[in-house]
């Protein structure tokens, strides 16, 4: 009845579309090897600044995983002339939101501030980056806070599933197999000297980028960045690459025990591709159809057709080397195996034939249309430019993004599905009530199954 009526009703179509251009930006190379990337946007009196440093988790020294993360966080905890409390107080009195984090591919110090306060806020940012204190007491405190975070992670089934998936996905010696922020063993081993050493080796002005977006002119931004960083000298650090090879080339099933869990956290996938891969655009469209959108095959199947879950999605995690491709969902314990079978079936089905024209147009129209909505804030523009710079994307990347999405065909999607989805070498991690889910999962005949505790230790047999 509903369908018949909906044929008869004329739905409003789109009006003429108004053009949108990603904010124009300029790149200015400074004579100490730093680069300024500035996008003046004058809608609100705010400026966002990202400083990108080639000091990500991939560069962690073996055995000391977590140094990159601690080093970045410690920038907020005191300088040669200010203790951490004073630094926080001064930044916050300016209304500045400031953060420092390391992800796989770099450290990012980010700040958003009223444009009227940009000058004093940059003075503080200079001290943070150029004269961090790394006080013993703060090092010890942040290590303890990281250990607390790890304890929390072990009791959070979703976070635990993410961790165990990466751990079993990559080879044991790969940096990608261990937590970005370090684990109990590596964090405990880190001393102040390791942090100081990492800082001196990697926080070098040559190769750093300062991204500025918001209510400021290029000339003014240049003058201010020159003022705070212009006389900083230091050679570029040597780039470190992660080993992104998979641990297994065949299907493996790892069950991680969480007694009486009402749900199972499922992760199913394999090693994906690097961010700079030429198939990026067709892969983004392919993933949108498979599990990237609410109306994707995986979500409509697991959530809307079966009611197994509150949500299911798939994603390629984009890094400099190949990050994971993974389907993630949390499903009711008694349908764990059924949900896994459906998700695996959807991955395989992507390779079996052309997607429907309606599926292609949904993905393409969404990705094309949503583009301007992604860049409403200075912080979002700053983050987008950071991605462009970090992955060395072409200068016209944002201007051609929508065209390149629209150029993707159903044939392209099938080709990249066949090339980059590997149903024969999937890793499945299920965190849940092992006693209840092992039997049904085994009956899927997915592949060899092992059982582990929350630290990943083998507890079966």
């Amino acid at each position: 009845m509903t369908a018949a009526k909906s044929q008869a009703v004329i739905r409003p179509g789109p009006g003429p579309s108004r053009p949108y251009h990603f904010p124009a930006f300029e790149r200015v190379r400074m004579d100490n090897g730093m680069e300024l990337v500035c996008a003046p946007v004058h809608k609100v009196p705010l400026v966002s600044v990202n400083v990108l440093v080639d000091a990500g988790a991939t560069a962690d020294p073996a055995g000391h995983e977590g140094v990159a993360h601690l080093t970045a966080q410690l920038l907020l905890e005191g300088t040669a002339t200010m203790d951490g409390a004073t630094l926080a107080e001064r930044m916050e009195r300016l209304g500045a939101t400031v953060d420092a984090q390391a992800d796989w591919d770099g450290a990012v110090v980010s700040m958003t501030v009223l444009s009227a306060n940009l000058r004093p806020a940059l003075d503080l940012l200079r001290d943070m980056l150029r004269a961090p204190a790394f006080a013993e007491r703060e090092v010890a405190r942040l290590k303890a806070e990281r250990l607390a975070e790890l304890l929390q992670l072990r009791s959070d089934p979703g976070a635990l599933a993410d961790e165990q998936f990466s751990r079993f996905l990559y080879r044991g010696e790969s940096r990608y197999a261990r937590l970005e922020g370090g684990d109990e063993a590596s964090i405990t081993s880190i001393a102040r000297a390791d942090i100081q050493g990492f800082y001196e080796a990697r926080y070098r002005p040559a190769g750093m980028q300062v991204i500025v977006a918001g209510d400021v002119s290029v000339a003014d931004a240049h003058e201010q960045v020159q003022r705070v960083f212009g006389d900083w000298r230091g050679e570029r650090a040597v780039r470190v690459e992660a080993d992104d090879r998979a641990a297994n080339n065949s299907r493996v099933l790892r069950v991680v025990t969480k007694a009486d869990a009402p749900q199972s956290e499922l992760r199913i996938g394999h090693v994906g591709v690097p961010r700079a891969h030429p198939d990026y655009f067709p892969l983004v469209v392919m993933n949108a159809v498979l599990g990237g959108l609410f109306s994707s095959r995986i979500n409509l199947n697991l959530r809307e057709a079966h009611g197994y879950t509150y949500g299911a999605h798939s994603a390629f995690e984009w890094r400099r080397q190949a990050g994971p491709f993974v389907v993630s969902t949390a499903v009711q314990t008694d349908v764990t195996a059924d949900a896994a079978r459906e998700a695996i079936g959807e991955i395989a089905r992507m390779r079996e034939g052309l997607i429907e024209p309606g599926e292609l147009s949904l993905a393409v129209d969404y990705l094309d249309g949503v583009f301007p909505i992604r860049y409403e804030t200075t912080a979002a523009i700053c983050a987008a430019l950071s991605t462009l710079v970090r992955y060395e994307l072409p200068a016209d990347y944002f201007d051609t993004y929508r065209r390149r999405i629209r150029e993707v065909t159903a044939e392209d999607v099938l080709r990249v599905a066949r090339e980059h989805l590997h149903p024969e070498s999937l890793l499945m991690v299920a965190v849940g009530d092992a006693a209840a889910i092992r039997g049904p999962l085994d009956a899927l005949r997915f592949g060899p199954m092992t059982t582990h505790d929350a630290e990943g230790r083998d507890v079966a047999r």
Partner: protein, 437 residues
């Protein structure tokens, strides 16, 4: 920064607010219905939220899940959310797709029921039960919201019961409940429609008239049960929850003045002084100096009826047990209660609040949501433009007056989570044995 605002009412009672901004070809549409979990009848906890899910299951001229598909196909983002006293639905789309969104929202406001089936209800019931398992039952501290409400509001109070609801009550919900709830609350005179961004106001008014105009007015919203409460708890309530968590975590709640009142702004600034970012009193004292907490923050519920709640949320560091954490937090609060806070504390908090507000309203969706909020609660969306001034007007004396009146031991409720092992149950051993079979 002032947001331009136009408001009017349709003859059927729909309150409309428009806010133009042509900097990007984007428009946000936002609908608030003045109904939430507080309006649920006994035995139907979780129904308002389940109903929100059903609003994505189609209407007379829209198929199941088609709402999502049509918006995403238009290049838009969308969702809905349910709170104690309101439910909202929102979309942000390229501005040339504005009419589609208005049509979709009007279609489900006017003609939801023909699309409702038992099968859709059963599926969404399963989805919501899985939402509960995921966000509440299988999540460390996941029960904190429902436990806080249960602890802070007396059993007969509309804010007492769980928003996501119990499994039993979700199972009991019927199509008849759907029809009744829809007829009672999903009416134009119980809704606010806000549109923010790039649109032509004359054209948008025509579309609103055309699509929403024919929807009949409702019979009037039944009043909530009495929400009035004493300003303070009158005691120090305490509850300890042994749970499957790794670290003790304390939620310390205070009854506080309702959202919108002058004293609310003092309470909100007090919350920021105590728990907003690294320069806050809790972070400075418990995380940095005493090193007993791994994280500390504060928030308000922003309730407009009965009373609001100001809540401190502190996670222990490893090796600090629940009792110790409770003592340490209490000492800080006692100290603040005795000595008050400083002008520098208030200046820091106000600067951050103003900055966060300016940052948030860059987004059309955030602007539209705030317009709907002030229109729903106070009948005046222009209050959005008074927020920065109201925060600036908060003096250190006002914050300290709030502190003296509300942070004392006669107005506290402690909800403490502790690791279950503390109680002597040996679950991890059982788990390992189970897995070894």
């Amino acid at each position: 920064m002032q947001i331009p605002i136009e408001t009017y009412r349709l003859p059927n009672g729909l309150f409309v607010t428009l806010s133009e901004d042509h900097t990007a070809p984007i428009v946000a549409v936002n609908l608030w219905y003045h109904v939430g979990s507080a309006n649920e009848r006994a035995g139907r906890t979780g129904f308002a939220h389940l109903f929100e899910h059903m609003l994505f299951q189609g209407s007379e001229d829209v198929g199941a899940n088609e709402h999502f598909e049509l918006i995403q196909r238009a290049g838009g983002t969308l969702n809905g959310s349910t709170w104690l006293d309101r439910t909202n639905y929102f979309e942000t789309v390229p501005s040339n797709q504005c009419e589609l969104v208005l049509w979709l929202e009007a279609n489900r406001m006017g003609k939801l029921l023909p699309a409702m089936t038992q099968q859709k209800l059963d599926t969404q019931r399963d989805v919501v039960k899985n939402e509960r398992r995921w966000s509440v039952d299988n999540q460390p501290y996941g029960t904190c919201w429902e436990r806080l409400q249960a602890l802070c509001f007396p059993p007969e109070h509309p804010f007492h019961h769980s928003l996501i609801g119990s499994m039993e009550d979700l199972s009991a919900a019927s199509l008849q409940d759907i029809a009744q709830f829809f007829a009672t609350y999903y009416t134009p005179d119980n809704a606010v429609l806000s549109i923010a961004g790039d649109f032509d106001p004359a054209q948008v008014r025509r579309w609103v008239d055309q699509h929403f105009g024919p929807i009949p007015r409702g019979a009037g919203r039944p009043p909530l049960d009495n929400t009035a409460l004493p300003a303070r708890f009158g005691e120090w309530k305490r509850e300890t929850v042994p749970d499957d968590v790794a670290l003790p975590r304390l939620f310390l709640a205070f009854r506080s003045p309702v959202f919108g009142s002058d004293a609310y702004y003092a309470a909100s600034v007090c919350g920021a002084v105590l728990g907003l970012r690294k320069g806050s009193v809790l972070h400075r004292t418990l995380v940095r100096e005493r090193q007993v907490a791994a994280e500390a923050q504060a928030f308000t519920f922003d309730l407009t009826k009965g009373c609001d709640l100001l809540v401190l949320d502190v996670v222990a560091r490893q090796g600090v047990d629940g009792d110790r954490l409770h003592d340490e937090v209490a000492q800080v609060v006692d100290h603040v209660h005795r000595t008050g806070v400083t002008p520098a504390d208030v200046a820091r908090a106000s600067a951050l609040i103003e900055m966060d507000f300016t940052g948030a309203v860059q987004s059309a969706g955030e602007r539209a949501d705030r317009l709907s909020m002030f229109a729903t609660y106070f009948g005046d969306p222009a209050l959005v433009n008074a927020q920065v001034e109201r925060y600036r007007a908060v003096t250190v004396d006002a914050v300290n007056a709030f502190i003296r009146e509300y942070l004392g031991p006669d107005n506290r409720a402690s909800l403490m989570y502790v690791p279950r092992e503390d109680t002597g149950e040996a679950e991890p051993v059982a788990a390992a044995a189970e897995a070894g079979r």
